[in-house]
Amino acid sequence: MQKTLEVLLLDDEPIVGRRLKPALDKIGCHVEVFENPKQAVARINEKEFDIVVTDIRMEEMNGIQVLEHVQAKWPRTRVILITGYAKMDLAREAMGKGVFDFIAKPFRPDDLRQIILNAAESLGISVDKPSGITEPVEP
């Protein structure tokens, strides 16, 4: 099965979304970027994403809460957590709640792309250019 990966990216740092959206577009993802967790959750309620990538530390609502929400609504959706400061207790809590993977700041776009490809694979979705992630790509 070949289709576009539907990805929701949530981080309260605007630059993260600005840089990662084109990076993920290149591996055949369709990325929706959010800086506000409330708005992101509202969007999750409307649409089933394949993958949700969310920062843990945010105002108003944290990544774990987003994870719980996604799990409740869309059990199939893979959730990837971004942590600013790796803390074991948080990781353990998230693992228990069915998080797909973690990525710690600072990371390279490729690091996330690899995790996303893994997630896609676990979903049984083959992506457009699985081998092209390290090659410069024409827009």
Partner: protein
């Protein structure tokens, strides 16, 4: 550490003007034990002397009274002898009566020669005996004389020796009588004198005990209180002599020095702990700009050919801005962690408080606590050490964060104090508050309500030290269940703003 000497003195006691200026180890050494020993020895020597003296004088009196009895008997006999001598001369009665009395008198003398000799001395005793024997010889001569004419010739010498014998004895008896009276008087008075002396001694010991011991103990109690409050300046007890209290003072000063040293070590560890707390927050704060920089730079390389000049410029600006953001985070932490001497500068207090809130922004965010800062405009400058003041406010905010539940509130207010020339900073929380019975102890060093591993119990005591040194004060108002407000007042300074270091 500041070393202002605050010796606590009792205003009612005249310590003399000099002793304080003499170093403890140079003062003459008289121990309290020695003073007490001297007092007791004096008491003992006095009692012993009086007892021995009383014994001696009573023995002497006994002898004298015995002597007086003997002397009285003797006097009676010789006076009788003389009466019979006169009767003989007038009426030619029997001379044997006179000789008989004289013989009895002689017997009295001979029998009691030792006792009499003891009182009169051997010379006077011999004189007495010789007068008597001369009179006796004259009486014999008188009895032996054949006619009246011959008798008349003896009479003058007889009378002379007779009266000499009597007057000598009378004189001595009289003298002894006077001496006995005098000794009685003494024996009566000396115990009274002794009692007075004991009374004076007792009063002195009492005064000594209350003044020197109790008052000094009180003063040492004041010292311990002062040390307990974290004042580690050495003590200088106002005492003229070296004694146990001087040694105690030296021991105290040694302890104070050790405490001060350990306190400083602990201050450093407290600061390290605070830094540790901040670092946890800073790591997160630092990873965000680092991540932004890394992502931006990575994408810039990856898409270099495809990006427009405008996009490239935007991304390069992002890299610069995010790098500077990281630099600020690090600088804030370094500023806080900086070691070294107090650096006095003219400071904007609102900026200090604002910087402090920025330092703890992550702790505040993690704890989901709401922090608001209100600064009155046109605040006067204050003189102080920037880092130390930040330490105070960081500490106050972190304390509040520790006790607040999620969605708790911290309100910080900076304004002019009602007292002119002072700036007032209040850090208010709506946490559980502080129980009244520990409110008084909260500024004591090592006092902590936090779990063992969490608090050193030094934060507030250090804060108070810093604020006190700047001429301000820090106090708290707390209603259990409602919240706590810490009030810091700092003196504003009139100095021109040009000498501001920043």
């Amino acid at each position: 550490m500041d070393q202002h000497i605050t010796d606590i003195k009792d205003p009612d006691i005249d310590y003399g003007s000099e002793p304080e200026n003499i170093p403890l180890h140079q003062r003459p050494s008289i121990s309290i034990r020695a003073k007490i020993a001297i007092s007791f020895s004096l008491f003992f020597i006095l009692s012993f002397t009086v007892t021995v003296w009383s014994y001696w004088i009573l023995t002497k009196l006994e002898h004298k009274i015995e002597f007086l009895e003997i002397a009285d008997n003797y006097m009676v006999e010789i006076q009788q002898a003389r009466r019979f001598e006169k009767n003989y001369l007038l009426y030619r009665t029997d001379l044997d009566d006179a000789l008989g009395h004289l013989k009895t008198a002689d017997k009295i003398l001979k029998n009691n020669s030792e006792k009499i000799e003891k009182i009169l001395g051997p010379n006077h005793f011999n004189t007495m005996v010789s007068y008597m024997s001369k009179y006796h010889d004259q009486l014999i001569l008188l009895g032996a004389a054949e006619n009246d004419a011959a008798k008349e010739a003896i009479v003058p010498s007889l009378r002379q020796f007779g009266s000499q014998m009597v007057s000598f004895a009378t004189e001595f008896v009289e003298k002894e009588r006077i001496s006995v009276t005098r000794m009685f008087l003494l024996a009566k008075r000396v115990p009274l004198y002794f009692m007075s002396a004991i009374f004076v001694l007792m009063v002195f010991v009492l005064v000594f005990l209350t003044r020197q011991l109790l008052l000094t103990l009180n003063r040492f109690m004041e010292y311990t209180k002062r040390i307990g409050e974290g004042d580690f300046s050495p003590i200088t007890p106002a005492r003229k002599y070296r004694d146990e209290f001087t040694k105690l003072a030296e021991a105290f000063n040694h302890m104070i020095k050790e405490l001060d040293h350990k306190h400083n070590v602990l201050l450093e560890s407290h600061k390290l702990r605070a830094i540790g707390t901040l670092v946890a927050g800073v790591a997160h704060e630092l990873n965000n700009p680092l991540n932004n920089t890394l992502l931006t730079a990575s994408m810039l390389t990856e898409d270099y050919e495809a990006l427009s000049d405008e996009e490239k410029r935007e991304m390069i600006d992002d890299v610069i801005n995010e790098t500077e953001r990281a630099q600020r985070v690090v600088k804030n932490l370094l500023d806080f962690a900086r070691e070294g001497e107090t650096e006095m500068a003219l400071l904007k207090i609102d900026k200090i408080v604002e910087d402090s809130t920025r330092l703890v922004v992550n702790q505040v965010r993690f704890a989901k606590v709401d922090l608001t800062l209100d600064c009155e405009p046109n605040l006067p400058l204050i003189a102080g050490d920037e880092q130390k003041l930040k330490q105070v406010f960081v500490n106050l905010i972190l304390n509040a964060v520790d006790v607040l539940p999620p969605r708790g509130k911290i309100r910080i207010n900076v304004k002019k104090d009602k007292v002119p020339g002072y700036v007032l900073i209040t850090v208010e929380d709506n946490g559980p508050g502080i129980d009244e019975h520990i409110q008084g102890r909260i500024f004591e060093p090592f006092f902590t309500t936090k779990r063992r591993a969490k608090g050193t119990g030094l934060g507030l005591s250090v804060s108070r030290g810093i604020i006190k040194k700047l001429g301000g004060y820090i106090k708290l108002k707390s209603v259990p269940g409602k919240g706590t407000v810490f009030i810091v007042s700092l003196p504003a300074t009139d100095s021109p703003s040009e000498i501001m270091s920043k």
